[in-house]
Symmetry: C2
Subunit: 153 residues, 2 copies
């Protein structure tokens, strides 16, 4: 979790919500706060609901989905689905741009950035003759140097 990203996005989110004439209700505020902390890389809807419940505060499933939709409409959040269809969300913030590596043995996801890859994507877009507005890359594989012995099944 990057505190600078959290605060930067939080500020922008607040401004966008106010500008859109939306009120700072309890559920909406809660979802935004959870996303700022835990939504810098993909987070599942279910997880957001659980975090809010743990806090004891408000945030029903219905409200969470409603707020996520609003945030998506404001361009504050991006949605994609994990392979089995469940929704996953990620904040949209230039300073938080990254891609994903999925360890096929453990299923864990980690984020990375790679300048060479970014350049190649822009090139590919140019060759295709399109104007790019976004892109996403998922690499799958195994770590060549296992982090610990107990990760091997």
């Amino acid at each position: 979790m990057d505190p600078a990203v959290r605060d930067g996005w939080l500020e922008r989110a607040h401004a966008s919500l106010v500008a859109a004439g939306l009120r700072l209700g309890a559920a909406r505020t809660g979802v935004v706060e959870v996303l700022a902390r835990d939504g810098q890389c993909l987070i599942e809807a279910r997880e957001i609901i659980d975090r809010l419940r743990e806090r004891g505060g408000p945030g029903s499933a219905a409200s969470v989905y409603r707020v996520l939709d609003e945030l998506r409409g404001l361009g504050l959040v991006r949605r994609d689905a994990d392979p089995d269809g469940g929704g996953r969300y990620e904040i949209v913030f230039a300073a938080a741009h990254h891609h994903h590596f999925v360890d096929v043995e453990s299923g864990s996801i980690e984020s990375f950035i790679d300048e060479g890859l970014e350049a190649a994507i822009q090139e590919a877009g140019r060759r295709l003759g399109v104007r790019l507005t976004g892109h996403s890359v998922e690499l799958r594989g195994t770590r060549t140097r296992p982090q610990s012995a107990q990760e091997r099944p």
Copy 2:
């Protein structure tokens, strides 16, 4: 639709199914045939069901999902979900490797291949210190000029 890919994958699929001791029932055969023709680039489960119904032949929703699961287990098919969660499937076949460009205005998906991008992906994997077993790229944007034939593999 690439006939060489269709026939090559069809042959491999047949061999794999027989090797796995599965019988060539009507529904299973139908799903495999639809995939060979229309599953070279992402196709939705719903669409497979519809094609089978159009043919008048067998292939209930239950059977389609069951067969897709089997094919996935055999490594013959890859599954990912479209942004709203619905399942999309694509045959797995070296000669059919490609990536996706989504026109954000029309929502249409087209496939492309780009050697520079492939190279950059291998480089990124090496820099990350992982062994890659697969990858996927999605570009989003708008067309700036009409599509030429060579951009559609």
